[in-house]
């Protein structure tokens, strides 16, 4: 495959974005998933619905509201301006936030499912063996939810790599800053450069297949602990 420098730049940017977004989502999504798995709060359905929204909303809707939210007159925009960062749309930072929101369900749902599948007996047994709450989380919950973490990371990463609509609305199409692979492909098609588009499109196709294939082949699904 013969990639141009701008292709390489788009690939690098895509990987950076997906890696950061996945890391952020695992970090922030784990407590949310844990809370969802254990809460009996009445607002749980509200949170579950919010988390699942990106699954059904057109990316343009998410992109539009994020644009407003992060724009010069939006609440986040005013905050970032007062902090002297400027506004986030059409920056890598803005793209990262948008990616996180767009991929949220792909990370939180597998984690929540994994936490819910762990038998409470495991935590009770650990507690009677002198493990405190944090100890139980890191040494019982996390290892037992490992398949869930793997699924969450892979899906979050792959989904971020594959996003297009939100990127276009929030990131625009700035080389080296926000022009990711999916946008690059779009540009090639618009310019009727089909063979260039085909190179990158095939790369995405192969990448997606390999990632999902590895996930479904090697991720152990553990039966409920007992």
């Amino acid at each position: 495959m013969n990639f141009s420098p701008s292709d390489w730049s788009a690939i690098r940017l895509t990987l950076e974005l997906a890696t950061l977004a996945t890391a952020l989502l695992i970090l922030l999504g784990t407590p949310v998933a844990w809370w969802l798995a254990h809460t009996r709060s009445r607002i749980k359905p509200v949170v579950v619905s919010l988390v699942a929204m990106p699954l059904v909303l057109p990316p343009s809707v998410i992109g539009f509201y994020l644009l407003v939210f992060m724009g010069p007159n939006g609440p986040l925009g005013q905050l970032t301006q007062s902090l002297g960062i400027g506004t986030l749309p059409f920056t890598f930072g803005g793209l990262l936030i948008a990616s996180c929101i767009y991929s949220t369900p792909f990370v939180i749902q597998p984690l929540q499912n994994a936490f819910e599948a762990i038998d409470d007996r495991m935590y009770e047994a650990a507690a009677t063996l002198r493990a405190g709450p944090l100890d139980r989380f890191f040494n019982v919950a996390v290892p037992l939810a490992k398949p869930g973490f793997l699924t969450a990371a892979v899906l979050g990463f792959a989904h971020t790599v594959g996003e297009f609509g939100v990127v276009l609305m929030i990131g625009g199409n700035i080389p080296d800053k926000t022009r990711v692979v999916s946008v690059q492909i779009y540009d090639y098609v618009e310019a009727l450069e089909y063979s260039e588009a085909h190179r990158l499109a095939m790369l995405m196709l192969i990448f997606s297949f390999i990632v999902l294939f590895l996930l479904y082949t090697f991720n152990p699904t553990r039966k409920k602990g007992g």
């Binding site: 007996r121 495991m122 047994a125 002198r130 493990a131 405190g132 037992l144 602990g225």
Partner: protein, 354 residues
């Protein structure tokens, strides 16, 4: 001593227990399902939190109005019905889980592995173990954390009869070898008869009886036992051995019984198990022309038709322990049995426990 006084209300169930438990030997929390025995154990472990209550152990407060010591800070070891081994750890790592976190190191852990017969399992994954092996590992894991008391929540209930009888000798051995108080939740009279030194009987969330096993057991009414298996337990002392006929004579108060040879010195205490179906009744003490070796004079203190055509007769030995005899209702009628009547119990079979 454990002193507990607590109230726990769940939808459709209320546990209101007030009791004192000794901190030595095996104390059985005994009752049918739904009687609150497991919930009581979970309150003591700190896994369930009574709305109101006070729990002290040797005058250390585990719970009162202001205090609630969380389970990981209570010096207990607990074994669950389903073993609850960690599937992501192998047997040795399961054992180490509690050991690593315990401030005091358990002594004699090698001996324990020996005692529970799990030396050959240490490198195994937990999902490759049989039910009985899992329970033995779970018991060892609890003991590795050097607990001051061991809580067993129906450790045999999930096992089939074969596995049960495999595990019981290990529990016996622990009982003999370890100087550790054990709280044992069970609904099976055979387990309680075999293991318990003290019994707390629960029913509908209330403590019905509590006391030394030998005193309590004969008085337990056993509506939850299979009628076929109803038995009473009598404390007895070995008086003499007859090696010629391979028999041992034991005494129960002033009464003497011949039982099959028991390999224990004269003067030892034993528990005898008398199945109700092995005791028949006679108005006549004689019975010289009979294969029955043991006849006791008793008094009828209760009668109940437990199944169509079958009557369970409760008999008192002097003022002491109770016996139960299961006879046909026709026999009860033809003997004209009535409360307070004197009658001779012919004992066909007596099995020493242990």
């Amino acid at each position: 001593m454990i002193e507990a006084d607590l109230t726990l209300t769940l939808p459709g169930f209320e546990l209101e227990a007030r009791l004192e438990l000794p901190l030595h030997g095996v104390t059985a929390l005994f009752g049918p399902s739904g009687s609150g025995k497991s919930t009581l154990l979970r309150c003591i472990a700190g896994l369930a939190r009574p709305q109101r209550g006070r729990i002290t152990v040797n005058d250390v407060v585990w719970q009162d109005e202001k205090t609630f010591v969380p389970p990981h800070q209570r010096p207990i070891g607990m074994v669950f019905q389903d073993a609850a081994l960690f599937p992501h750890l192998n047997v040795q790592q399961n054992l180490d889980f509690g050991a690593k976190r315990s401030k005091t190191k358990a002594s004699g852990t090698d001996n324990l592995i020996e005692l529970l017969g799990i030396a050959h399992l240490l490198t195994r994954r937990t999902d490759t173990l049989s039910g009985g092996e899992k329970q033995r590992v779970a018991i060892a894991r609890a003991l590795f954390s050097a607990p001051q008391m061991l809580l067993l929540d129906e450790p045999l209930a999930a096992l089939d009869a074969q596995r049960k009888s495999e595990l019981l000798p290990y529990l016996d051995a622990l009982h003999q070898e370890l100087d550790l108080p054990v709280l044992y939740v069970s609904h099976a009279p055979e387990e309680v008869a075999r293991l318990a030194d003290h019994i707390v009987q629960l029913s509908n969330g209330r403590v019905v009886r509590s006391g030394a096993a030998m005193e309590i057991f004969p008085y337990l009414q056993l509506p939850f036992t299979q009628e076929e298996g109803i038995f009473t337990l009598l404390p007895a002392t070995i008086e003499l051995h007859d090696s010629y006929d391979h028999l041992t004579q034991v005494s129960i108060g002033a009464h003497r019984l011949w039982v099959r040879y028991i390999d224990k010195p004269v003067g030892s205490a034993v528990r005898l198990r008398l199945l109700a179906r092995d005791i028949s009744l006679s108005l006549d003490p004689g019975a010289r022309e009979s294969s029955i070796l043991n006849t006791l004079r008793t008094e009828v203190v209760g009668m109940e038709e437990t199944a169509p055509g079958r009557t369970l007769v409760k008999l008192a030995l002097d003022d002491g322990p109770l016996l139960m005899s299961r006879i046909t209702t026709r026999s009860a009628r033809s003997l004209q049995l009535r409360l307070g009547q004197e009658i001779y119990a012919q004992i066909k079979g007596v099995a020493p426990l242990e």
